[in-house]
Amino acid sequence: MRPGASNIVQFENVGLRYGSAIETLSDLSFDLAAGAFYFLTGPSGAGKSSLLRLIYLAQRPSRGLIRMFGEDVVTLPRARIPGFRRRIGTVFQDFRLIDHLSAYENIALPLRVNGVAEADIDTPVREMLEWVGLSGRAHAKPATLSGGEQQRVAIARAVIGRPEILVADEPTGNVDPDMAGRLLYLFEALNKLGTTIVVATHDLHLIPRVRNAQLIRLDKGRLAQPIGAAA
């Protein structure tokens, strides 16, 4: 398959094995279109988190070819990986907030890593805090935030750098339905700005709430069915 400009992620016969265990992911071949919205579903242990790890470049596959942004990332020199990661927003299942930094500083981190001037950081961070409903908790440390609040900080941190692709692992797992709807609305807004969204979720009720979303269904490390419209 030749790389297409409209595909932001391309997997060809990708397999992932941890150590000498059997493959966690096998023979994955699919494309993710730039600007599309995907839900990644499947039972526990299907390999959703492993697939996301490959997409957010936490792992190289054991075999196969992965292209992102038109380049082979399997053989990508290590020195170029940070540049690619800055184009990817990630919401981790366990949030991975830095405990000793406030919510504000956690959200500002991607901008600082990316070299944004200090004078240009405050406004977007405060806007983002407002978006996720945490304006009054800007200076709270993660340990003093509830699980849902931590998750919203993690989402704000993932999207503030306006990534080209956002990868979210169970982003609504710790929030109430109302907040889940608001977060989906944020993802859709980001999607409309051109960001490709990949949301791994167990919550099948979320899927119909996003128009034109597509479904990636994994089972036992393989695609259970071709990627297609969710509805």
Binding site: R78, R85, R96, E105, L109, G115, V116, A117, T123, R162
Partner: protein, 303 residues
């Protein structure tokens, strides 16, 4: 859109950058370990510099001298030969001065062994000539010696370098020892920094993982650590220098009280203090380099 604005700026050097690693300033034992090592390093360096100064003194003042003895029981003949030799030696190239040591001086020199009545006794005392060579002209000694032997075959020529050679060798060996000690201390300090950097990496593993996932480069992460380690190293280095300076001044005072020219020549020249003051800065640079290499090599093992 302000929300997603981009620009430039080095946040690593800002207060926000410093908050990424939460440990307080001078936390842990590293600054104090560095202080102890710098204290020892400064003392070793000071010893090396002082010995170097003493060695140069030996070279320039004593090494370039010789003493000629004319032993002859016939005093008028002895004096005549001595006068001829002084006149001849003073004309030789490379000779700064040739001076006959007065009999009164010799009597004074021998007083501890022969008593004060030497001048009135018949004991034959050799005539002695002090020869001082020009700087860098000690090679003229063999030619001078040959001419002396031509006039006075029984004259004895004492090259001061011969009896100072063992002392000079000892000083040279001690200088090398001091230099080796300085290098060993520097290596020990560098290894301490390596251990501290590895420990810091383990302590801040979770933070580093997040930074990596957000797109931080190895250099950005290393910069966070190396600034902290540089601060600790500079503090430790300055404390070590200060303490060592007190010791050096106290030892110098004791040496001055001895009143010996030879021991007194083991002194720190002015420029040595400048060299010693540079050691904490050099130590800080070394610590930064060691920290940077350690962090970057460790990070390279990860994706």
């Amino acid at each position: 859109m302000a929300l997603f604005g981009r620009g430039s700026g080095n946040w690593l050097t800002s207060a926000a950058g410093r908050r990424i690693l939460p440990e307080g300033w001078l936390s842990g034992p590293m600054p104090w370990v560095i202080a102890i090592m710098m204290f020892l390093m400064v003392l070793a360096a000071a010893a090396g510099l002082a010995l170097g100064h003493a060695a140069r003194g030996l070279d320039s003042h004593v090494y370039a001298q010789a003493t000629i003895q004319i032993v002859d029981a016939n005093q008028p003949r002895r004096d005549a030969v001595a006068e001829r030799l002084v006149a001849m030696i003073a004309q030789q190239p490379g000779v700064a001065s040739a001076r006959r040591i007065a009999d009164a001086e010799i009597t004074e020199l021998l007083r501890p062994w022969l008593g004060g009545g030497l001048a009135d006794s018949d004991l034959p005392v050799p005539a002695m000539i002090d020869v001082v060579f020009e700087e860098g002209a000690r090679d003229a000694l063999p030619a001078v010696a040959a001419r002396v032997k031509a006039i006075a075959p029984l004259a004895r020529i004492d090259d001061h370098a011969q009896w100072l050679a063992p002392l000079s060798g000892l000083i040279g060996a001690l200088r090398w020892l001091a230099m080796v000690l300085v290098l060993l201390m520097a290596a020990a300090a560098a290894f301490t920094v390596v251990l501290a950097a590895r420990a810091a990496l383990n302590t801040h593993q979770a933070t580093i993982d997040v930074m990596h996932h957000l797109g931080s480069t190895d250099a950005q992460i290393a910069q966070l650590f190396q600034r902290r380690i540089a601060t600790d190293a500079l503090f430790g280095g300055l404390v070590g220098l200060l303490l060592a300076s007190f010791v050096i001044l106290a030892v110098g005072d004791r040496i001055a009280q001895v009143g010996s020219d030879l021991i007194g020549s083991v002194a720190l020249p002015g420029f040595a203090w400048f060299v010693l003051a540079l050691l904490p800065l050099a130590g800080t640079l070394l610590a930064m380099l060691a920290a940077r290499l350690t962090i970057i090599l460790a990070l390279r093992k990860r994706l």
